[in-house]
């Protein structure tokens, strides 16, 4: 009796916790179908209007567009810079190694409000006008270290013998990189890019300090919270959620098939 209780205790706990984690997600999704008037607090009946006409609330759509522009730009720059650093960290010996590690680690350990206020203070000192470019600069900065961490893990699993083989076959440095190293690193680089995109897209605190009058999606939600968030915001949130989950599920199923093959072998 005691054994069977112990056997079911953990799975039950895990199931309950996951249900708990899902509550606000389901709530947001359900209320994206609410036939709301201005605010979206009381359930007034089912409608598809919010989904079919998201840009009815022009501000929500503009904010969403800005978020996409920022996330794409920051992701591209951070992924390139971060991948270069990751390769150097794993493959090269150089002086100031621990200083470099520290500089890369610090942004991960700094509260967002400190990074946001610091950058805003610097833009103030420089006399730079806040807007989309300053948000992109800020997002590139705070996602860079996450890219380094993710790509570094992938570089570390790369067998240097493969590159040596390429050189033995008279490939020059560029050929070795683009034909061997880069394709092997690509899954790690893509994972890093997805992570950077997700972090940038959902960032609020650093954005609020450096965006001036420009709205991103999270900033729109924060400002709207005082008077009630329109159902269109729930639509965008739910839409992004469904797309992201679909991508992750495909990746997970593919990798679990691979692992299963390894186990059964």
């Amino acid at each position: 009796m005691k054994l069977s209780l112990g056997k079911y205790l953990l799975p039950t706990y895990v199931a309950l916790t996951f249900a708990f984690l899902a509550i606000p997600i389901i709530y947001t999704f359900v209320f994206s179908f609410n036939d709301s008037i201005k605010s979206n607090i009381i359930w007034r009946g089912f409608t598809l209007d919010n989904w079919l006409d998201v840009c009815n609330q022009q501000e929500v759509c503009d904010a969403f567009g800005n978020s996409v522009i920022v996330a794409v730009s920051a992701t591209v720059v951070a992924t390139i810079l971060g991948t270069m650093i990751a390769i150097a960290l794993v493959r090269y010996r150089f002086r100031f190694r621990s200083a470099t590690n520290l500089l890369l680690f610090l942004p991960l350990a700094t509260p967002e409000v400190v990074m946001g206020a610091g950058l805003a203070a610097q833009f103030l000192d420089f006399g730079w006008q806040k807007g989309l470019p300053t948000v992109i600069i800020a997002h590139t900065m705070f996602t860079l270290s996450f890219v380094v961490v993710t790509v570094k893990a992938r570089v570390a699993t790369l067998d240097p013998a493969l590159e040596e083989a390429g050189r033995d076959l008279y490939a020059n440095a560029a050929q070795v990189f683009w034909r061997i190293t880069f394709p092997l690193l690509l899954p790690g680089i893509l994972a890093a890019a997805m992570l950077a995109f997700a972090l940038s897209f959902d960032d609020f605190i650093i954005t609020q300090f450096n965006s001036g009058a420009v709205d991103t999606f999270p900033k729109f939600v924060y400002t709207a919270a005082a008077r009630g968030i329109p159902a269109e915001a729930n639509v965008i949130g739910s839409f992004v959620f469904l797309v992201a989950i679909a991508i992750v599920l495909v990746v997970q199923i593919r990798s679990s098939r691979k692992q299963k093959k390894l186990i059964t072998k």
Partner: protein
């Protein structure tokens, strides 16, 4: 750190960096220069701003370079309750999040170890909250806990809550929201540690007549410490600077304001940049002390 755990764990070919030369410089320089310009020097701007004095012209929002150390005394004196609240909320929420997350991480990393599909699905469920805006999730809790919500009406009807009692705006609501938001940040690094745990060590413990509790205390938990440390940092640090959950438009009230709320109000609303900067510097100093205690234990190489 946390997010590395998401990919399938590939065996790491142990390799020491061997190459030397200029290429390393070209690879490192652009990124490090970027961090220098937009991460490091802003910290100095923050310190500089924290010492500024109001402009002689008297224009609001204008400050002159000065050495006004009194700004720190003012910030500490004026906002002591918020500073204290930030760190106590962060501590309480971190401990609760650890207690909730550890069993989940254990289940995914140990119990479900040989069932890749189940494991993948569970990991997806852990990170699922990341895919929907943190602000929307927090706002959903606000609506669920709001005074006329179905939940509160039910609790009041069955007598579990007094007719005049409320949840939004209390310490409980803020800590609840913080715990909820940071459970994934705690779960992932612990999972990553437990996933690498060699189960033969646990078996060896049982062979030596240790019961389940003793093997957990002496073997499993110590070996998962890197994950626990990483998870507590990833939870404690962001919470100590968070101001969304504690904002009165979300789960908090003026009685629950944290450092972040004060920095936001001073910097972005009343343009008291020196006070906001002084508070940020104090927060950063506290975090640096905390983190360097960790770094001394594990070295810089393991941090990333």
């Amino acid at each position: 750190m946390a997010f590395v755990a998401l990919g399938p764990q590939a065996p790491v070919a142990s390799q020491k960096p061997t190459k030397t030369g200029r290429v390393a410089l070209y690879l490192l320089l652009p990124g490090l220069f970027y961090l220098g310009l937009f991460f490091l020097t802003p910290l100095f701007s923050l310190i500089l701003t924290s010492l500024k004095a109001p402009s002689a012209t008297g224009v609001i929002g204008r400050y002159d370079v000065a050495l006004e150390i009194g700004n720190y005394g003012y910030a500490l004196g004026q906002y002591a309750p918020q500073i204290f609240r930030s760190f106590s909320f962060a501590l309480i929420a971190t401990v609760i999040a650890l207690a909730i997350s550890y069993p989940i991480a254990y289940f995914i990393g140990v119990t479900a170890r040989n069932r890749p599909l189940l494991k993948g699905m569970l990991l997806t469920l852990v990170i699922a909250p990341f895919f929907i805006s943190m602000l929307l999730r927090t706002f959903a809790w606000k609506q669920i806990f709001s005074n006329d919500s179905w939940l509160l009406n039910t609790l009041k009807d069955i007598g579990l809550m007094g007719a005049d009692s409320y949840i939004i705006g209390t310490d409980f609501a803020v800590i609840f929201g913080l715990v909820y938001n940071f459970i994934p940040f705690m779960t992932l690094p612990i999972y990553a540690s437990l996933d690498r745990l060699d189960l033969r060590l646990v078996e060896a413990g049982h062979d030596l007549y240790a019961n389940s509790f003793t093997t957990f205390r002496k073997i499993t938990f110590p070996l998962s410490m890197p994950g626990v440390i990483s998870g507590t940092l990833l939870t404690f640090i962001p919470i100590s600077g968070d101001y969304v959950v504690a904002s009165r438009d979300f789960l908090g009230s003026t009685d629950t304001a944290m450092i972040g709320n004060v920095v936001e109000a001073n910097f972005l609303r009343i343009q008291d940049y020196p006070t906001a900067s002084a508070l940020s510097v104090l927060l950063m100093a506290a975090i640096v002390i905390l983190v360097s205690a960790y770094v001394r234990r594990s070295g810089t190489e393991d941090l990333l």
